[in-house]
């Protein structure tokens, strides 16, 4: 029995997926289909980032599968020259779960949006995370419904005026990172569509994680929610707000590193001026800590007003994956019991009728 079959933690997310020595380029991952997002859509940037990043994994292209649900971002698989399925609304994680369980030799990616993953597909998302199926979920969060032309989504800020909420939306939004952590996720990361470097780094770590990796990507929808994340991109503003994480490093940000994250009461974290608290008081980021409350506290550093937005890998811990464990049970059953169909059909108690 291999380590994979035993569902042992500590294996890379790509163990079992065949690799190739042939050099790959980003364009190898471009399909012949014309990309049809609106001009300026953040999805283009993410698509380019993924296509540029995948060659670095050195996997056989035919062993990569993109599965999506419904929504603008869910057209993603059509543009990838890999295997792919554009499925039904909210169900991509469930379909990918079946696929990943049936095939350990595939690198399975789910592309979904805030409506697809958190509204109609919320149930599948949380159960996929708790099962820790070996698949990578790219959650494109534009805080709006794009494909249906601009209704508020489960991540829209309260009071959002949209076509369906002329007097402002009433719902309190989800924080996808907090939700994932509450759902027992083993890997949670966040990146900005415009930050190629940061996004690529999170994708790299996600790919190498064995288990479900949820990556929230803040994505601009110039048509229905333009500028939703502009404050995180404007020079002068961005540095004050973005809190990048690096494992093993003190959490520090600001144009001149003048801010940092320190522990506060009841296991929470808060932002402080380094000048006030001193460097030694800064929290050293540990993505591997078992207790999810630390990562949760990071996800709650500010309300969802983007005043402090943490990016990078919040949490990355090892736990046996559902699909590895399911395969291990099949292997174990094969080793201990004979697969004899005839004797199964006969069972224990038979009787024989003889002809006259």
């Amino acid at each position: 029995m291999t380590a994979i079959e035993l569902g042992l933690p500590g294996l890379g997310g790509l163990a079992g997926v065949p690799t190739t020595d042939e050099p790959q380029k980003a364009k190898d991952y471009k399909s012949d289909q014309e990309v049809r997002w609106c001009p300026g859509c953040g999805d283009y940037v993410v698509l380019n980032a993924v296509q540029s990043f995948l060659p670095s994994l050195g996997l056989k292209r035919e062993n990569i599968v993109f599965v999506s649900g419904i929504g603008c971002s869910s057209r993603f698989p059509y543009y990838m020259n890999t295997y792919g399925m554009h499925s039904i609304h909210g169900r991509a994680t469930a379909i990918a779960t079946g696929l990943a369980t049936a095939r350990e030799d595939l690198s399975v990616w789910v592309v979904t949006g805030d409506g697809d993953a958190l509204s109609i597909g919320g149930n599948h998302l949380i159960h996929t995370l708790r099962r820790n199926v070996n698949l990578k979920i790219l959650l494109f969060n534009n805080r709006i419904y794009g494909l249906t032309k601009g209704q508020y989504s489960p991540t829209s800020e309260t009071g959002k005026v949209t076509k369906s909420t002329p007097m402002g939306s009433l719902d309190h939004p989800f924080n996808p990172v907090s939700l994932a952590l509450g759902a027992e996720a083993t890997f949670v990361g966040r990146a900005l569509d415009s930050d190629r470097k940061g996004l690529t780094e999170v994708l790299r770590q996600a790919a190498e994680h064995r288990g479900t990796a949820l990556v929230e990507i803040y994505q601009n929808c110039p048509i229905f929610n333009d500028g939703a994340f502009d404050v995180l991109k404007e020079p002068g503003e961005a540095e004050q707000r973005l809190v990048p994480l690096e494992h093993g490093k003190p959490i520090r940000f600001g144009a001149g590193g003048e801010f940092g994250v320190v522990r506060a009461g009841f296991g929470t974290l808060e932002v402080a001026r380094v000048a006030d608290v001193g460097e030694d008081a800064l929290v050293v980021h540990d993505a591997h800590t078992d207790d999810p409350s630390y990562a949760f506290a990071l996800s709650r550093l500010s309300a969802q007003d983007l005043s402090h937005t943490v990016t990078g890998v919040f949490r990355s811990v090892s736990r046996p994956t559902y699909d590895d464990s399911a395969r291990a049970q099949v292997t174990q059953a094969r080793e201990t019991r004979k697969a004899d169909l005839q004797s199964l059909l006969r069972g224990r108690d038979t009787w024989t009728v003889v002809g006259d």
């Binding site: 065949p18 399909s31 289909q33 056989k60 292209r61 035919e62 062993n63 599968v65 599965v67 999506s68 059509y78 990838m80 020259n81 890999t82 295997y83 792919g84 399925m85 554009h86 499925s87 039904i88 609304h89 169900r91 469930a94 379909i95 990918a96 779960t97 079946g98 696929l99 990943a100 369980t101 049936a102 095939r103 030799d105 595939l106 149930n123 599948h124 159960h127 399911a326 395969r327 049970q329 099949v330 174990q332 059953a333 094969r334 201990t336 019991r337 004979k338 697969a339 169909l341 005839q342 199964l344 059909l345 069972g347 108690d349 038979t350 009787w351 024989t352 009728v353 002809g355 006259d356």
Partner: protein
Amino acid sequence: MSTGLDGDVAGSTRGAGITKLDRVVIRFAGDSGDGMQLTGDRFTSEAAAFGNDLSTMPNFPAEIRAPQGTIPGVSSFQVHFADYDILTPGDRPDVLVAMNPAALKANIADLPAGGTLIVNTDEFVKRNLTKVGYDANPLEDESLAAYQVHQVAMATITQGALAETGLGKKDAERCKNMFALGLLSWMYHRPTEGTEQFLREKFAKKPDIAEANVLAFRAGYYYGETTESFATTYQVAPAKLSPGTYRQITGNTALAYGIVAASQQSGLPVLLGTYPITPASDILHELSKHKQFGITTFQAEDEIAGICAALGASYGGALGVTSTSGPGVALKSEAIGLGVMTELPLLVIDVQRGGPSTGLPTKTEQADLLQAMFGRNGESPVPIVAPQSPADCFAAAVEATHIALKYRTPVMLLSDGAIANGSEPWLVPEVGDLADLGVEFATEPNAPDGSGEFWPYLRDPETLARAWAVPGTAGLQHRIGGLEKADGTGNISYDPNNHDRMTRIRQAKVDGIEVPDLLVDDPSGKARVLVLGWGSSYGPIGAACRRVRKQGHAIAQAHLRNLNPFPKNLGEVLRSYDKVVVPEMNLGQLALLLRGKYLVDVISHTKVAGLPFMAEELQDVLTGVVKGIDA
């Protein structure tokens, strides 16, 4: 000896204290906590081991433990066994075993006058009687005068027999169902070793409980032998079934085995994605025991995830299966549509139960036919296969899988509660005789334009099945999904003509599925009336036909196993009879389809009572139609 007929009064011959019968129907009835299902099951196994033909019908409440001693809490198990081939669990019991007043009250109306009634008197105390609305104890007045009543203090005697074991009173009392089984086993000359062995294995971890049950079982047996209250015992000889090796099997088990066999015969591993639901959960339980055959069972977070995981596995080249009941099919509809659009094999099992909504979870019905046929958005044809009896579920599962794999399509398999939990002898097939279900995956580019591309929607001209390339196949990378596909290339297409063409192709593919011609059974060759059924009503319809024929009338019987597409000769068959009667446990769903497709004004006979048809009621209906024609 008379030729037996299901539901007839049994033929008998009498000897020295032993009466020979050709068939008997026994119903064990008690509180849900009394272990009646186990008792009935064991008696059935004894009948099977003895070589009788048999058919069973469990009937239990939806609540796990309804309030004790109440009518809603009554659980029963009916077993019909005979020395010839029988078709149903029997309309009415010849023998009713009532473990408490509630069981008596709930079942006595079904016992014909002169029938045998065995009651556990210990439970007939004022409190229990009042609970079910008996003002006076029926055992003490004349209300049961029409029956042969045997009053046995089962709990007291069982406790006495176990006095030495040191078992607590309560535990000892709980063994009274085995006492009842022992008594009935003696009355009907049943073999006992199997039950004793079964009890020792079942309670292997609690040897004292095992021994107590064996002792109670023996106490019942000896009670019959030594007391004089039972003057006669009965023998039902082994049945002369077709030669071969038989076992007893329930519909759900046979279905699960069919899936294992289909997996072996196709060489594809199975992924069952499912969510627990009555009465389908036993398929999950059974399959989860057979992982050595390469079977993975995934208990999903909901019905939708169950089918989606199955479809995902199918996309990966496995055999995706999902099992559910009507409410679950409602939730799975969109994913079935995705299966239709992506043209992937998928087996969808619907073990029908009473509806709509939650309906009658533990009762049977055949009212999901139109749901299976049409219950999706758009033109979304899905083949439908329906087994006709518990043992037939095996072949039906293999056939449904065969269609799914050969034509790359979701297939609905419509079982129902009566078949799922009912059991009968099964002529165990030889594995060597099973069909080869092997599939060929695409391995090469296939584009007819010589571009060296792979076109996932290029079809086999015969079957119209599309090329199936699984991930991991080099050079055949492609994308599929729920959006309309361009014919051939499979690229997204919004072209009006293409959509029209693809809609017609999908329909033509299902319409063109090869299904065997409908066979008509008309021994006289003179019938002018045809009775046409589908699914689990096969037994009662067949039994009713035997009776009609025995009365000297000619009647033809045919049974549909393929409901989509229908057999090619169906129209011709329908038109060759003066009248066609279609009995269904719904409000006429098959009748609607037949009228719509063949313009034949069939006579729809319907019943939606949560219970199978009785042979007797169908006999009356059929006789009425036959006589109407003759007149």
